[in-house]
């Protein structure tokens, strides 16, 4: 007499074992799919992290850049070490930019002989309108277009106006998101930057 109940579990066990072994068999196709999926998720992760980073924060090294002004002058911030640099992002279509335009020009006149460099970065604009804007507010400090939005991408700006003040050591001293409220506010920021330089 054969004990059937004793045989059945063994057969089932063998069957399961075969399936298990089959499932664990390495397949190049499956491996490639998992690898692709992983690479895609990593790309997504780093892309999202970059967009969530926000603007460059004070204390961090300020992105260095070069720019050709509307007058054809070539500027390179790496050649301006030892000076405080105010970088203002603006556009002619930006209404809040108009609130601070005259004050920035006034601050430039007050600080140009104190080792402060002003650079206006014209963000996604058309040249005739940008020139009109500069003429309207009598802006005389160097201004140039942000070709290919390379500078604004380096600073990760979210809009205009935004102003960044770089210390003499190349680190960012202050980031102002939105327009300055008054000339006094701009001058206070520049004094802090100059103070941090002399310390």
């Amino acid at each position: 007499m054969v004990d059937e109940t004793a045989i059945e579990p063994t057969q089932a066990g063998e069957s399961n074992s075969e399936e298990f072994q089959g499932g664990r068999r390495f397949s190049w196709g499956t491996g490639a799919i998992w690898l692709l999926l992983l690479a895609f998720l990593l790309l997504l992760f780093f892309g999202l992290r970059r967009t969530q980073q926000g603007p460059v924060q004070p204390g961090a090294p300020a992105p260095q850049f070069s720019l050709t002004t509307f007058d054809g002058q070539d500027l390179d911030t790496t050649h301006m070490r030892g000076k405080v640099i105010l970088v203002n992002f603006w556009a002619s279509w930006c209404v809040p930019c108009e609130q601070e335009a005259a004050e920035l020009q006034q601050a430039y006149e007050n600080y140009k002989d104190k080792g402060v460099v002003f650079i206006g970065v014209n963000y996604v604009d058309t040249e005739p309108e940008a020139r009109d804007y500069m003429a309207r507010f009598d802006i005389t400090y160097p201004n140039g277009p942000d070709l290919g939005t390379r500078i604004s991408q380096a600073y990760r700006i979210r809009g205009v106006p935004e102003t960044y003040i770089m210390g003499a050591n190349g680190n960012l001293v202050e980031a102002k998101i939105g327009p300055y409220a008054s000339l006094a506010e701009i001058q206070a920021s520049l004094d802090r930057a100059l103070g941090s330089t002399t310390e």
């Binding site: 790309l43 279509w93 996604v124 604009d125 309108e129 070709l147």
Partner: protein, 165 residues
């Protein structure tokens, strides 16, 4: 002789006037016509607003977009081709103004990933279909065996009852 002089002057003045009017009309004809809104929008529809994301330039309502459309009109009037204008916008504002990103850097993923995903999907579908075809078809339940003496006896009993025995 003196009577003819005014007549000669009138004829000369008429010739000069005709000559001037012809010259003016020719110069007017030589000026390229201002590009129409349709021509501007035809180029603008291939570009995206650099500030407001995912808005084509031809339908963008902002002041900045109106300025860019005017810029396109100026470039068209200057004889620029569509490609030259698009390249100008890319140089000024970056690749993001293009409706279709150029295939370089990480952009190539946009072109490669969809076909790869479709191929993987087709592969998975084919594998599933193959496994279904290989799966053993369950055998239909066997009809009750007529060899069974109880069944045979029951059938005989039923037949006898039908005959009214």
């Amino acid at each position: 002789m003196s009577a003819r002089r005014p007549l000669t002057l009138v004829i000369l003045a008429a010739i000069v006037a005709i000559g001037l009017s012809v010259a003016v009309s020719r110069s007017a004809q030589a000026q390229p016509p201002t590009p129409s809104d349709n021509q501007v929008n035809q180029v603008a529809s291939q570009l995206y607003c650099p500030v407001c994301e995912n808005v084509p330039l031809d339908v963008c309502p902002t002041q900045a977009c109106a300025q860019w459309r005017e810029l396109i009109r100026e470039k068209l009037a200057a004889g620029w081709s569509d490609d030259q204008i698009k390249q100008y916008f890319v140089t000024q504002y970056g690749d993001r103004v293009l409706a279709t990103p150029p295939a370089h850097g990480l952009n190539w993923l946009v072109y490669v990933l969809p076909p790869v995903a479709i191929l993987i999907g087709v592969g998975i579908l084919a594998a599933v279909l193959r496994s279904w075809r290989r799966a053993p078809v369950p055998e239909p339940a066997a009809p009750p065996s007529t060899e069974d003496p109880y069944v045979r006896q029951m059938e005989e009993e039923l037949k006898r009852r039908e005959r009214g025995e």
